[in-house]
């Protein structure tokens, strides 16, 4: 017998295997099953707290939102880079390049100061060496009016096309 040694000594393995015979009475299982089913029913019916549900729904949405957002950002960056090259080439051909700040009513005042056929590069923080006073631009766009082009970006101070292009954020 593997459980005992030849001299009839009790082995540890035999003793441990005895524990397989430890069983609760049948009535124990009746109450066990009843309680378990009650708890399971409670689990099915019970709703998680609002915070838990919100976190769970957020967690599920992340699977959709994150890849979509990443794809959108990549597309935007690629589009912007193409536009930057195009605008840089266009602006490089301009005869005069000056930097001014974008502010309310800026177009008219600049036109008055510099006249037509000028290109102005403006940054979002609005500081430029040709403007006595900086202001914040609220939008990213080309302001074109009567042959006057203004390049507006949202980066920091830029005084020429090269620095704006380096900033990488142009419309």
């Amino acid at each position: 017998m593997p459980d005992t040694q030849p001299d009839n000594k009790v082995t540890l393995e035999a003793l441990l295997r005895l524990k397989r015979h430890e069983k609760p009475a049948p009535e124990f299982w009746e109450s066990f099953d009843r309680e378990l089913h009650q708890k399971m029913l409670h689990t099915l019916v019970r709703k998680d707290p609002l915070v838990i549900r919100w976190i769970r729904s957020l967690y599920k949405r992340l699977y959709i939102v994150v890849p979509s957002a990443a794809a959108a950002v990549i597309t935007l960056v690629i589009a912007l880079q193409g536009d930057v090259v195009q605008k840089t080439l266009h602006l490089a051909n301009a005869s005069t390049l000056e930097v001014a700040s974008k502010r309310s009513g800026f177009t008219k005042s600049v036109q008055g100061m510099y006249g037509a056929n000028k290109t102005f590069v403006t940054n979002a923080l609005g500081y430029s060496h040709t403007s006595s006073e900086g202001s914040q631009a609220s939008a990213l766009r080309v302001v074109s009016s009567d042959k006057v082009n203004y390049v507006v970006n949202t980066l920091g101070q830029s005084s020429n096309i090269a620095s704006i292009a380096q900033g990488g954020v142009l419309f």
Binding site: A14, L18, E22, K23
Partner: protein, 211 residues
């Protein structure tokens, strides 16, 4: 039939039974995942005794073992959709049981030593092992067995929880080293090492009773 026989010859009867058992469990799990809640009862009926035994032997506490077993089934039920069938259902269930018990033991440090249920006479007479426990009369045999049980429970409680787990799963529940490694999320080498150390400790503790 010949196909089944050839499989049986190749793998061995035990492996074939285990594979069929695993497939059967997986079929039930898929039913539950599809929304058949009642199918989970079959899994409860099948594993409740073994689960209770594992948890009881880990905790040595009858009432807590029952509560924890219920908690384990509820956890398994709630996360059944995450079970992908890569491992056997019972190893997945046992892992939940072991982790839940570890958490419980960490929270409540006190330990009690009493047996779950006295062995009934039928079990005693059907056990081949018990025939060799003592050459005394029936009542004497019972007394020796009970005393040894108590001592064994004490000895088990002297082990660390990880060593105790390995001993219980291997010697009492009859799991293989590989299955224990899956349940405890360790390597088979670690399982063997822990088992060897644990048995040495138990031998030392029960020296007077075993010799």
């Amino acid at each position: 039939m010949s196909f089944a026989k050839s499989i049986s010859d190749t793998l061995g009867t035990t492996e074939v039974v285990a594979a069929c058992d695993r497939d059967l469990d997986w079929a039930i799990v898929q039913k539950v995942q599809a929304g058949d809640v009642k199918a989970f009862d079959k899994l409860i009926q099948k594993y409740r005794e073994r689960l209770l035994s594992i948890i009881y032997n880990l905790t040595s506490n009858h009432e807590d073992a029952a509560d924890l077993s219920q908690e384990v089934f509820i956890k398994a039920f709630r996360s059944i959709n995450r079970f992908g069938g890569k491992s056997a259902f019972f190893t997945w269930l046992y892992r939940i049981a072991v982790n839940t018990t570890y958490t419980y033991i960490r929270k409540s440090r006190f330990k009690r030593y009493f047996s779950l249920q006295n062995m009934d006479d039928e079990s005693l007479s059907s056990s081949e092992v018990l025939e060799h426990l003592s050459t005394q009369s029936s009542s004497g045999k019972y007394a020796v067995a009970s005393e040894l049980q108590e001592k064994l429970n004490e000895a088990l409680q002297t082990l660390s929880i990880k060593h105790r787990t390995v001993v219980i799963l291997f010697e009492i529940e009859g799991l293989s080293h590989q299955e224990i490694a899956q349940v405890t999320n360790t390597s088979e080498g670690t399982v063997r090492s822990r088992l060897h150390y644990a048995k040495q400790q138990l031998q030392a503790y029960l020296q007077d009773y075993l010799n």
